[in-house]
Symmetry: C2
Subunit: 429 residues, 2 copies
């Protein structure tokens, strides 16, 4: 059983907007066991949409069409569908009512806008009457066609709550897909590939994919099979265990977890807390930590001491140290982490001071040089790193390295001699 | 003259990897005046690739095919192309030599890998012999076909340095494309649409697109025409001026500029500086500000006071104020911004304290409630906002609102009575 996705919009074929919605739909359907065979992106052009719809219907069992359902002139999906499938269009009163209800919120509740938003092909089954951007389903010659709004936030809930349950009802359950992501930081893609080569040799049903997700590499493990074959789960679990044993400390997180959530849980387990002093990352480490709901349980405070004056005044860094060694130095990173731990009265601290670029580098301290300090109840560590890439990449690598360093320390109880800051920069193909 | 893009890869149709390369190719070609009519994504499957190639060749003048040129087993683009167009494959010695030269760097310089990487269809013109992932060009029945590596970093330089110059040579210069982006915050999409309706009426050659780029709406103005018609630039400039007059203060930035760079330039012009006190945003505002190279010229420091203790200790917020009014209150936001301005000895400050969710809301202060303080040499302002969305959306809206509030203040010299926090939440379709 195969499906296709058709994404409609001039903004997509002109490259002005990244097509995240098709990727989202494909991902969710793949995990639900439905194969996607093709994704086609076309512009707001009735004849192209018609041709594409009819060709896709010949090849596939179901179609997911996104975009072009809005109220403005360039929204022509309904017109094209009606023409392609020989259907009439009609204004649906339940949609009119719904849109009027949310009028003040959605600002389309006026004359022609309202009428256009409430128009669908005859025979369409509205997917979710509680959403004013409803989406609908058509059945045509045994095929199932979904039409969804192109706006990511509206589309996402439709896919999970409407499309997948209806596909299961109409076409039967998809294949069984077992799927896990290991998030790796500290090893390059080819390095991981070599270490895991034995998996696909030993487990013939297991497929491994390598997906750079800067600054991490995500390793996806998939086993697909019929629901009847009942040793599939066993194979999957064995493969995952083997990967866990092999990559071990370099696995930052699995599945929905992230470096931030894993680090948070480690601190929570110790009933401990963290404070952060940032210079070149400017708040990025704090922002990443606090992106996790509940981080107030283990994050005390951050100091974004961008100027030297702020380093002295807020963190108590000695002006002499800055004068003698520079703001980007081992000594300054040391005093920054000491200062922020004192300020927050916490047992753990991180500090970052460096040159994110593109300007500010010197032969001695080129762009990408970052000193990271890690304060623990036992000792303060400082390491010098040289990160490659542009300003944002250097900042991301620095924040990831700092958070990951503390994760390794908390989980493995030592400074990790095997931790190789230079190696971790190899993220290439 | 039309072209199509075909992207090949199981990782793309399964949704595991976002298809950024097609968007990049489409964007570059559109700006060079070549229209892209369709983007098709297919898996690593010879018969699908063949069918797709032949169908696209019937419709279009040129094709850009990306992916499937690597050394591993699932790289089958060459095989499919040769079969579809009736060509033989051959190992090219100049490619063998090149790959051997960079052997230690590219880790494919071994036996079967090397041979596969050096194989192309007969008649292929190698695009760039200095890159080991070369890419090639084929001419077939008057059509121009480019085959490019799918790895974004390799593809990007090929598109700019090889594909566009060759298209210009082979098919003639593209149309003249004049293009500008206005970045809007504070108005919803349909609201902007209504305000700009007159543009497309008055300037028939001007096309306006609306692209939500959360939390901003980006308005793209495009004029496409032949290079001979020489009033096109005039029309484009008139339309842009009319948009600038109409949207005025709600235009946050244009083209490559961002809210952060515009705000930075306003502060630099005043030789002034800013400090930021963040609670619910956890460093996001500081991170956004310092994403701009040179922000040290106008950004002094930030305090990420996530706990109440930190608000008291670092910013000098009165414990009584927190006890009486809560950490999320007008009074706390007021003392936070005062505190951080004192700490940084700067004339401007921003503070944010709120409930980003998903937990922590109360009937009185539901999730999304954020108090933003703006300190200026004249006065401290505090406003209460209620932002919709999930944790990350609330945080993004709060950071954007704070930065934009200061931009408006600096540029227009007043508290802006026309500034409508409630309205700006309407970002829907």
């Amino acid at each position: 059983m195969y499906g296709e996705i058709i994404a409609i919009g001039d903004e997509l074929i002109s490259g002005r907007v990244l097509n995240t919605t098709s990727t989202f739909v494909a991902y969710k359907l793949t995990l639900a066991g439905y194969s996607i065979r093709r994704i086609t992106v076309i512009g707001d052009n009735v004849s192209d949409i018609k041709e594409c719809l009819l060709a896709s219907l010949k090849r596939s069992d179901f179609l997911i069409v996104t975009g072009g359902l809005g109220a403005t002139e360039d929204d022509i999906t309904n017109e094209a569908v009606a023409s392609a499938l020989g259907l009439e269009l009609e204004v649906r009163q339940e949609l009119v009512k719904k849109i009027e209800e949310c009028g003040h919120r959605c600002d389309v509740a006026e004359g022609p806008y309202l009428e256009k938003m409430a128009t669908v092909p005859k025979g369409a089954e509205i997917l979710d009457i509680d959403s004013y951007a409803a989406g609908y389903l058509l059945r045509y010659e045994g095929k199932v066609l979904f039409f969804l709004p192109g706006v990511p936030s509206q589309l996402k809930s439709h896919v999970e709550k409407q499309v997948i349950p209806r596909l299961q009802k109409l076409l039967g359950p998809g294949q069984l897909v077992l799927y896990k992501i290991f998030k790796i930081f500290g090893l390059g893609e080819t390095e991981i590939n070599k270490k895991l080569e034995f998996i696909e040799t030993n487990f013939s049903d297991v497929k491994i994919g390598y997906y750079p997700n800067f600054p991490e590499i995500h390793v996806a493990v998939t086993v697909t099979g019929s629901r009847e074959k009942n040793n599939i789960e066993e194979i999957f679990e064995s493969a995952c265990s083997a990967i866990r044993q092999t990559l071990d400390i370099d696995i930052v997180a699995e599945d929905q977890d992230s470096l931030e959530t894993v680090l948070g849980n480690l601190l929570l387990d110790k009933k401990s807390a963290l404070a952060v002093a940032e210079s070149c990352t400017g708040g990025l480490v704090g922002q990443r930590i606090t992106s996790v709901s509940g981080s107030s349980g283990w994050f005390e405070c951050g100091a974004v001491t961008y100027s030297n004056k702020a380093k002295v005044k807020i963190l108590g860094v000695s002006p002499k140290i800055i004068e003698q060694h520079g703001a980007v130095s081992e000594q300054t990173a040391h005093e920054m982490v000491e200062g922020v731990m004192r300020l927050g009265s916490v047992p753990f601290g991180l500090s970052l001071t460096g040159i994110a670029g593109p300007t500010g580098g010197t032969p001695e301290k080129p762009v990408g040089t970052v000193f990271i300090g890690m304060g623990t109840p036992e000792k303060i560590f400082v390491e010098r790193f040289l990160f490659p890439g542009d300003r944002q990449e250097v900042r991301l690598l620095a924040s990831e390295t700092a958070l990951d360093w503390l994760r390794r320390y908390l989980k493995y109880g030592t400074d990790i001699p095997g931790y190789r800051p230079a190696k971790r920069l190899d993220q290439g193909h």
